[in-house]
């Protein structure tokens, strides 16, 4: 039974994740079906300058289309020029056109108006384009740091956030697993049988270390599995869809400053630079350390909650809240410290063991020692080690009393008393 659930969760979780990514990619592509926009009352310059994207938005300039019949004629919307002086345009449509489509239309309109202005001032458009292009090629600004490494701004963000989220989720999953395991031992009434053979502390540590081993195995399997599936993804998705991905990619590369944030592109570009641009020799050991450290820090606390719960699992909720709050708080700090890894909040968040496993991962991905000096990393690690030794000691005291206490609900206040007393 146990083995079955382990196998299921080990293999289903990555499949679900990959399917989710694939599904999101697919939807992103699907939503890019082309639509025609009818432009009426053209003041003259639009037809000349407005560029269509044959796979996305097509501008047409029919004569016989009005607000009343644009739908029958096969147009998704109708663009009216109401007031040429103030350059105010309105698109009428039955259904919302969507943010991306509106974005595209606005960009094209701006360009068209810009070209028109250039023409009015008798500036040659092709000349300007070539100057722009030439100047872009002539000047290259890169943010080079002392170590000579180039800063890739997007990737560390993804890596840091990803690692933080994984630690955040697994902390809940495996913490809850420890709690359930302890509860099970107490409710099955086997706890007293076992503690007549081993010390309660040994029983608790056995549970924590056992689940840590399961967790690490599962985590490594997930990583391998997801890697494999991500590489297999192009084979799974039909060639048709893949072609569409490439189309989207090309059309967006063709547009400088285009929306570079579709999920499809993220997947493709992430896999590209994933392997080469990241200092895996730093990230992976740190990730494993913070995963284990964070797990050990919280698992003992979850175990102590499990030990004081009686028949009613509802009791767990109120007792778990003080443990879950800092984890959730850590996640909030992570999202701000990833933008500002040097802020006070990020620094303290990555030092205090309650939040450091999640927050520090977000900062490390930005670079050690450029963003996070070595001393900060080592101090944070030392504090985390000290932290989990403390929580384990603390939880052990509660666990020892709680596991043998039946029929009485304990509050945190009471548990503190148990610690003082022993």
């Amino acid at each position: 039974m146990r083995n079955k659930t382990f196998l299921l969760s080990t293999f289903l979780f990555p499949i679900v994740i990959v399917l989710f990514i694939a599904g999101a990619t697919f939807l992103a592509i699907k939503s890019k079906n082309k639509s025609k926009i009818a432009v009426i009352n053209d003041p003259g310059y639009l037809q000349k300058n407005l560029e269509s994207d044959s796979s996305f938005v097509i501008f047409e300039f029919p004569k016989d289309v009005t607000s009343a019949n644009y739908e029958e004629k096969g147009y998704a919307g109708i663009l009216k020029v109401n007031d040429t002086a103030s350059k105010k345009y309105v698109i009428e449509s039955k259904k919302s056109l969507g943010i991306e489509r509106m974005d595209f239309i606005e960009r094209q309109m701006t360009k068209a108006v810009e070209y028109n202005m250039l023409q009015e001032k008798s500036i040659d458009r092709t000349l300007l384009d070539s100057i722009n292009k030439a100047s872009k090629e002539a000047v290259q600004v890169t943010n080079e740091l002392e170590t000579g490494k180039e800063v890739n701004n997007k990737l560390p963000y993804i890596i840091g956030f990803g690692c933080g989220i994984i630690i955040y989720i697994t902390m809940f999953i495996f913490g809850a697993m420890v709690m359930r395991g302890v509860m099970e031992e107490k409710m099955n009434r086997i706890a007293e049988v076992i503690v007549s053979s081993v010390k309660p502390f040994q029983l608790m540590m056995g549970k924590i270390i056992g689940i840590a081993a399961v967790g690490l195995t599962q985590l490594l399997l997930w990583i391998v599995f997801i890697m494999v599936l991500v590489n297999l993804l192009p084979l799974i998705i039909s060639p048709d869809t893949l072609q569409q991905v490439q189309d989207v990619q090309q059309s967006q590369q063709a547009l400088p400053g285009g929306p570079n944030n579709t999920l499809a592109l993220k997947v493709v570009s992430a896999t590209d630079s994933f392997v080469n641009d990241v200092n895996w020799w730093l990230i992976i050991p740190c990730f494993l350390f913070y995963f284990l450290g964070g797990y050990l820090f919280y698992a003992a606390l979850f175990a102590s909650v499990g030990s004081v719960i009686n028949e009613d699992p509802q009791e767990a909720q109120s007792l778990m809240l003080p443990i879950m709050m800092p984890i959730i708080f850590a996640f909030i700090i992570l999202s701000t410290s990833i933008e500002n890894p040097d802020s006070q909040m990020a620094f303290w968040g990555s030092m205090i063991p309650f939040t450091s496993p999640i927050v520090m991962m977000g900062r490390i991905a930005k670079g050690v020692p450029e963003v996070v000096p070595w001393w900060q990393l080592f101090l944070s690690m030392a504090l985390l080690i000290g932290g989990f030794i403390f929580t384990t000691w603390f939880a052990g005291k509660i666990y020892r009393t709680g596991i043998l206490l039946y029929g009485k609900k304990a509050s945190w206040k009471e548990m503190i008393k148990w610690i003082r007393r022993s």
């Binding site: 146990r2 086997i190 049988v193 053979s197």
Partner: protein
């Protein structure tokens, strides 16, 4: 004259010293467990308040007391789960070492259970290995016990598929599997039918014969009377009774006799300073002897009166009665009635 008197006293004294010495020596060699002035105080109550006792090797020892008397706390100190606040535990002649001595103890707690999803065979193996048994040794022992209790076919079953009685049997097996010197059973018969109760009872006798000592904690007095040879009664953390079952019954007897006569009784027959009549039903009388008289005095009197005594039995109190009397007499006691689970 003076000389001889001195001689008599000294001889008596010498005999007394010799006998107590022998008594102490006997227990020194034979005791598996000795508690001296054991105390465990919790914030609200004195769970165990200065209890001393000695348990001889191979005895079946009854630990009695109402709910909340401190039995479980006492047992938990003996099994190394709790540390005593004060006092000493001597196990098998040495100071009790909670880490290493626990493998010589088998404990079946009142709040007991097993891993529900684990297979029975694996579970027994796991618990045996926790008690320091080698794998092959544990396997052999488990097979032996499973055959004895006709449980061989259960090996691959899960505990959740067992009935309550079946899992109690399994629990008993896992408790005694490692041949502990001291076996502690807390309400071992709860949930068992009479057939299985007898099965376990017989095993308890056999274990005691083979040199294991059994501490037997229960509220069910009829089982105690049947099984135990020595009992102590605990109430409010204090020991209020300690002795062999026979001795205890003698100590608490009320000199009651049930007499059956063949003759017709008249009130004059019973009007006598030797005894008072507690109950009369036809020719059957329950008498309470007055102090200073014994069975023979009464019999003599009846014979002299020309009465034909058909039967003459002393009524000894049951442990149940002694239990209730003592517990209710203890000052400031919450009133517990013995629970028959």
């Amino acid at each position: 004259m003076q000389f001889s008197l001195f001689k008599i006293i000294s001889r008596k004294k010498a005999r007394l010293i010799a006998s107590t010495g022998k008594f102490a020596l006997k227990f020194l060699i034979m005791a598996i467990l000795e508690l001296s002035h054991l105390k465990k105080y919790f914030k609200e109550q004195r769970a165990v308040d200065d209890i001393s006792l000695t348990i001889g090797k191979g005895s079946i020892f009854g630990l009695l007391g109402p709910n909340g008397a401190g039995k479980t706390t006492l047992i938990r100190m003996i099994t190394g789960i709790f540390y005593p606040d004060e006092g000493q535990i001597t196990f098998d002649g040495k100071k009790f070492d909670p880490i290493n001595d626990v493998i010589h103890i088998g404990y079946m707690p009142e709040e007991r259970g097993l891993y529900k999803k684990m297979k029975i065979g694996e579970q027994a193996m796991y618990l045996a290995q926790l008690k320091g048994m080698k794998k092959d040794e544990a396997f052999k022992k488990i097979k032996f016990w499973f055959e004895k209790f006709e449980m061989q076919s259960w090996w691959n079953k899960k505990v959740e598929d067992l009935s309550k009685g079946m899992s109690q049997k399994l629990q008993f097996v896992t408790t005694v599997l490692h041949e502990p010197k001291l076996i502690i059973l807390d309400e071992p018969f709860s949930g068992l039918d009479p057939v299985n109760s007898n099965l376990i009872k017989d095993e308890i006798y056999k274990l005691a014969q083979n040199g294991s000592t059994v501490i037997f904690s229960t509220h069910r007095m009829e089982q105690v009377e049947e099984i135990c040879n020595h009992i102590i009664l605990v109430n409010k953390g204090k020991k209020i009774l300690d002795g062999t079952v026979k001795q205890v019954k003698q100590d608490y007897k009320e000199h009651l006799f049930k007499v059956n006569f063949q003759n017709q009784l008249t009130p004059e027959h019973l009007a006598i300073h030797l005894f008072e009549v507690k109950k009369q039903k036809g020719n059957e009388v329950v008498l309470k002897l007055h102090e200073g008289f014994n069975n023979n005095d009464v019999l003599q009197y009846f014979i002299n009166k020309g009465l034909m005594v058909e039967s003459f039995n002393e009524i000894l109190p049951s442990l149940n009665e002694i239990f209730i009397k003592l517990v209710e007499d203890t000052p400031l006691t919450r009133q517990f009635s013995p629970v028959t689970a």
